[in-house]
Symmetry: C2
DNA sequence: TCAAAAAAAGAGAGCGCTCTCATTGACAAT
DNA sequence: ATTGTCAATGAGAGCGCTCTCTTTTTTTGA
């Protein structure tokens, strides 16, 4: 099955003599190298190299000559050789636990596009479960990325230490690290959550509740805190906290099931994520025939694309993704140029609530 | 909140004198190299290198010695140096136009995880729009990936040529390339679509229609063909083809709007994707008060997670993602080992239809 | 007119790894 | 004692690039 492939080796025969297009390179990557160009133009390798670099001393004439010839020969720089020599990789490592989640995939899409615009490359690592996670980081670290973007809370202390030791900056997206050296881009979850409390109270709700992701994700905690604080500040009893087991749709489903008895006691629910809200709403409607927003107002958080669908029509607190990505990129490019970045943690202000059909106006 | 962690930095003090842990390396990546280990153990670099390779002649004793010391020193192989020397990268390039789409992000999640399991790395390239696309491929090609997975139909002829010339195999996922040398993993769309026709006809529908993505995506064409053929075979008039402008939710929305007059003439609609189906259904319900499935049965395609939500409850033709990913990985690992892979195009059989609430049984 | 400065080009040493080839013993075969 | 074999190790040449240091060429100023 594997020892008959005649056609290919034939062109080895025609290779001997006058084939200018295929320059030297005996058993290279099969690609044209700087050396090939140098040989071809009969100038030194160093000069050829200079033609491709900025801020270097070379006559414009020679540069153009080299560039033109390189183009003709189809030269492509070998990033491995370059990285080996420069110790800069222009690689951004991305550790993402749930690519398969609307909000993450949205961010990833934007991010990957922007990263390529600044001529860097994105290496994606699944941060699925803790045990594999450290191994994943090892793999990533082997590439000495210029920076690592962390979208997963599961980073172990050891892993953090390791990255730090190797001098790879960690940028936390939408989460806060205990690590004081880490960089981070987040948003003002507390202020946003306070807005939600205001909206609910202003529109006549009196018995607020918060659907918590139930884990110690900083986003969850901040949203809860902001929501509870503001409610208290407005003179209402503290919101009831309904626990879930994560941020997903299924978690919302299960939370609704478990929260049946508590439903009559509340008139509005702020959820730690849109999916959670959607899952809760779907299940409450299906199982208990709950009418939303008449019996319960629901507010999500993130404003994923789904939330705007007429089948969901979810009122939600927007996550300022656009600006967060902007800030992340700014950090990334500064960092990759070796510049000092201050402050290390940026908080983008909340962009407010998009009111849709899951919240009632009772007055 | 963040500037009190005394314990860790202390060991910096003990660093001055007899710390064999920090070997040579003057201005390297900041990492331990094979040479450092060699110097430390006073053996040759070559032997140290051998300890890390398989199928190499070295005494077990020495190997263990090296591995232990390497572990202690925190050695991590430098993939750039290795790739430069071996011309193998263990990098898989992924060209994906819409990461931000349920089906793609689902595949990406599975794929990234599996790729890391076989100790390869995933480099993600957004394939958004044609003009940027070739530049993106350039970036990718600079890394000489062991293979490139293509999830986007937008590959230009020039790009294909380039990859071929550089000897990088292209694997098309869920699409067929005109390129005879390309690898591919797909599924039996025609057979699947035929199943849908059967289901609809068997349950009493008589005026079928197909919501086409409207572009020349091979998946769309195959689904349409299979659906039309089978309908004809069953003796019914050819399905009406309703055009959309892509595979997205918004495309479905717009299609519904435009198709209003045609609605009375059909009793069932097979859509080229789930999102298309969802968008069509949402808009038809909202704008025309269309009752699904009473007035119109709708069948999607792919079975994305959303389809199972009670708010959508979409009957759909499943895309056998799991097996497709399996096959892709099999190819990938064979290819990365330089093995010959035959056949080049694998078609996974369809896994059938999941019947839910958007299809009526009329008899 | 000629030295000094500036511009341009060349030489060559790495970067950290792999891989071929050469060298060294140990031990069995002659 | 001599040769051959084989396991184990060492030496060293790349891989394709960058970057420092020289050397060569051109420009400039008194």
């Amino acid at each position: 099955m594997s020892n008959d492939r005649p056609a290919i080796s034939e062109d080895a025969l025609t290779d001997g003599t006058a084939v200018p297009t295929r320059a030297a390179g005996k058993r290279s990557y099969g690609r044209v190298t700087l050396k090939d160009i140098a040989l071809d133009l009969d100038i030194s390798l160093a000069t050829v190299a200079r033609a491709f670099q900025k801020d270097t001393i070379i006559s414009e004439e020679t540069r153009q000559l080299v560039l033109r010839r390189a183009e003709q020969l189809g030269y492509r720089a070998n990033v491995f050789a370059r990285s080996l020599a420069t110790r800069k990789t222009r690689i951004v490592g991305v550790i993402m636990s749930s690519v398969n989640s609307p909000i993450y995939s949205e961010v990833l899409a934007k991010l990957s596009e922007r990263i390529h615009r600044i001529d860097m490359s994105l290496m994606l690592i699944p941060g699925s479960y803790a045990q594999d996670f450290d191994a994943s980081l090892q793999t990533l670290m082997a590439y000495s990325p210029d920076a690592i973007l962390v979208f997963s809370g599961l980073l172990s202390e050891a892993a953090i230490e390791q990255a730090k030791h190797a001098g790879v900056p960690l940028i936390y997206f939408n989460r806060v690290s205990r690590d004081p050296d880490a960089y981070g881009v987040g948003c003002d979850n507390e202020a946003g959550a306070a807005l939600v409390a205001d909206l609910l109270i202003d529109s006549g709700h009196e018995r607020l509740a918060f659907l918590s992701s139930g884990n110690d994700a900083t986003t969850n905690i901040e949203r809860m805190t902001g929501f509870v604080e503001r409610t208290r500040m407005r003179g209402l009893p503290a919101p009831k906290i309904i626990p879930a087991t994560g941020f997903s749709y299924e978690d919302g489903l299960n939370a609704a099931l478990a929260a049946r008895e508590q439903l009559p006691a509340i008139d509005s629910l702020f959820c730690a994520s849109d999916l959670l809200a959607l899952g809760f709403a779907d299940e409450a409607r299906r199982r208990f025939g709950l009418r939303i927003p008449e019996e319960l107002s629901i507010v999500g958080c993130q404003n994923i694309a789904l939330a705007s669908w007429s089948s969901h029509d979810l009122t939600t607190l927007c996550l300022p993704i656009e600006r967060m990505v902007d800030e992340t990129l700014a950090m990334l490019s500064s960092l990759s140029q070796g510049q000092i970045v201050e402050p290390r943690v940026v908080r983008v202000p909340s962009t407010g609530i998009t009111e849709r059909g899951t919240t009632a106006r009772k007055k």
